[in-house]
């Protein structure tokens, strides 16, 4: 059948117009020929000149830098050029800004998988942290209410204090400070997500000397229908009041907001996917009597585990989906353990253990979805590894 491939491409030829254009290059001096830049590139060059100095032109390397650092943190190795190429493929520059209360928020770029979208945000005009610290220290301690819920648990040898925010005042005095974004509202047109079912997280960089800060907003919605986040979309991102502090009780407002940013994204080429075939992972029941959802190993021993069979796992550059065989198990078990993507050169990338969600696909198919911390080029992906306690299960990728 190799001949059929060769015969097929043997029938493809450059157009006569292109042939004439190329042959006519010699009719001018070489110096003049240099001006024969393809039209598309010429337009691009003009656009670069027009945009020079704007956020759109200046922010190009932002998401590459962010994910490169993340890759090194996750794997202990520098990022490979293949990985950067994949990040480029999944990312679009945006450069839309809105100012409110002296703080300007810019959507630097957007990176998309089928079911996850990352917004790289830039906040400019933030007040100095010394000023925010003074305002934080001026807060008065609230009075504990009569129904205080403060409790102390030991989980895997670590003391964990639970309770309402007001109960945690003392513990939070020296906790790390950060910006607190509140719940962002994200909507798409066409409406391809269930607005009531999603996960999101925000990671932020330290504030620079010029008062700017970068933050990465990860949003994992539940898709409805056949559409994906890689289709052409109009996006509205509404960011609420920005706070600074340690918790909902120890924080001060920075800027009132909201910042409403709207922009359009083009369709991007759908991500490739690999599969593992069937297998099984371990599931454990939640321990709900304390409201913790975890087992206290120091007092209770290991939780009972039960094998959960899956018929396939579909791996994409931004995460993977486990197709469970028995939907009933997913109503009473949490999946336990960690999932790693192993590359040809032995690099390991661990899926966010908190990123999984159960959801239903058409046909009552029950699945769990996990997200990689960094988009990953699957060209060098070798296997998916599942680790639970001392046990390792390897699933080759096809």
């Amino acid at each position: 059948m190799n001949d059929l491939y060769r015969e097929t491409f043997g029938e493809i030829h450059a157009s006569e117009a292109l042939r004439q254009e190329v042959l006519s290059m010699t009719k001018q001096e070489k110096a003049a020929a240099k001006r024969q830049i393809p039209r598309m590139l010429l337009i691009a060059a003009i656009v670069v000149l027009v945009l020079a100095g704007t956020a759109l032109a200046a922010a190009a390397p932002g998401i590459r830098q962010w994910f490169s650092q993340q890759w090194t943190q996750e794997t202990g190795r520098p990022i490979h050029t293949d990985q950067l190429g994949l990040i480029d493929q999944l990312s679009d520059e945006v450069g839309v800004s809105v100012e409110s209360g002296g703080v300007t928020v810019t959507v630097d770029s957007v990176t998309r998988g089928e079911d996850v979208i990352w917004f790289l945000l830039r906040y400019d005009g933030l007040p100095p942290e010394e000023e925010l610290e003074k305002r934080l220290n001026a807060l008065e301690r609230p009075q504990p209410n009569e129904e205080s819920t403060r409790k102390v648990f030991t989980i895997n040898g670590t003391e964990v204090i639970m309770g309402e925010a007001v109960d945690l005042w003392e513990e939070e005095l020296n906790s790390p400070r950060n910006y607190r974004l509140g719940k962002a509202t994200i909507s798409f047109a066409p409406a391809i997500v269930d607005p009531d079912f999603y996960a999101w997280s925000l990671e932020q960089d330290s504030v620079r000397a010029d008062g700017s800060m970068m933050a990465l907003l990860e949003y994992t919605p539940k898709l409805v229908g056949e559409a994906t986040l890689q289709d052409a979309l109009d996006v509205t991102l509404e960011l609420p009041e920005l706070q600074w502090g340690t918790s909902s009780v120890r924080q001060v407002p920075v800027a009132e907001g909201p910042w409403t940013l709207t922009f359009s994204l083009p369709a991007i080429e759908p991500s490739e996917s690999l599969t593992t075939g069937g297998g099984a992972a371990w599931g454990t029941p939640p321990h709900d009597t304390t409201g913790l959802g975890y087992w206290d190993s120091s007092t209770m021993g290991p939780p009972p585990a039960e094998e959960m069979a899956f018929r396939d796992i579909q791996v994409t550059p931004t995460g993977f989906t486990v197709f469970w065989t028995d939907p009933e198990q997913t109503t009473r078990l949490y999946t336990s353990g960690f999932w790693y993507l192993r590359m040809e050169d032995s690099t390991e990338l661990r899926a966010d253990p908190n990123g999984w969600i159960y959801c239903d696909l058409p046909g009552s198919q029950r699945v769990s979805r996990f997200i990689w911390p960094v988009p990953v080029d699957l060209g060098q992906a070798k296997s998916l590894e599942y680790r639970y306690r001392d046990e390792v299960r390897t699933f080759d990728l096809q």
């Binding site: 190799n2 059929l4 097929t8 491409f9 029938e11 450059a14 292109l18 598309m40 040809e344 060209g379």
Partner: protein, 155 residues
């Protein structure tokens, strides 16, 4: 490079340059821009080629570099739905079906496939041209073969 050597090179290799670019982009308009830019670089180059194979490899490398640069440009609209892309004319339906199947593969598989099965480059040579490890090229070829109903075999 003289006018006559450039013209001869263009006559012999323009189709190859265009096909490499077409496999990269899937899109004839982008492939033509890339092919034109690659041939312009040849005309401007002050390079002496030891033989025909040296020239052919130089052109493949330059074409891939041009495609890579164009792909990174944020002003290029990167995706046109497969069903909306104009197709080359084929002499029969079987070849049209093969073309559609190949073009439905991710880009990273299409180019190694073309260089291997049409241009006859080895895995190591493709790795050098694409700046990839030979094992990565091998993996991509194997996965591309696995996805095609075409039944391609090694070598």
């Amino acid at each position: 490079m003289t006018e006559s050597t450039f013209t001869a090179a263009a006559e012999r290799h323009l189709d190859m340059v265009y096909r490499v670019a077409l496999n990269w982009f899937r899109n004839g308009a982008d492939a033509e821009d890339a092919a034109q830019m690659a041939m312009l670089k040849l005309w401007q180059a002050d390079a002496d080629f030891a033989d025909e194979e040296h020239l052919r490899r130089w052109l493949v490398r330059v074409t891939l570099n041009v495609c890579r640069d164009m792909s990174r440009s944020p002003w290029r609209r990167r995706t046109v739905p497969l069903e909306e892309l104009p197709e080359p004319a084929f002499s029969d339906e079987e070849r049209r079906a093969v073309y559609r199947e190949v073009m439905a593969l991710p880009g990273k598989y299409r180019v190694p496939l073309y260089l291997y099965y049409y241009e006859g480059y080895s895995v190591a040579e493709i790795g050098e041209l694409l700046r990839l490890n030979a094992s990565t090229v091998q993996t991509r070829l194997a996965r591309a073969r696995g996805r095609l109903k075409l039944g391609l075999t090694e070598g």
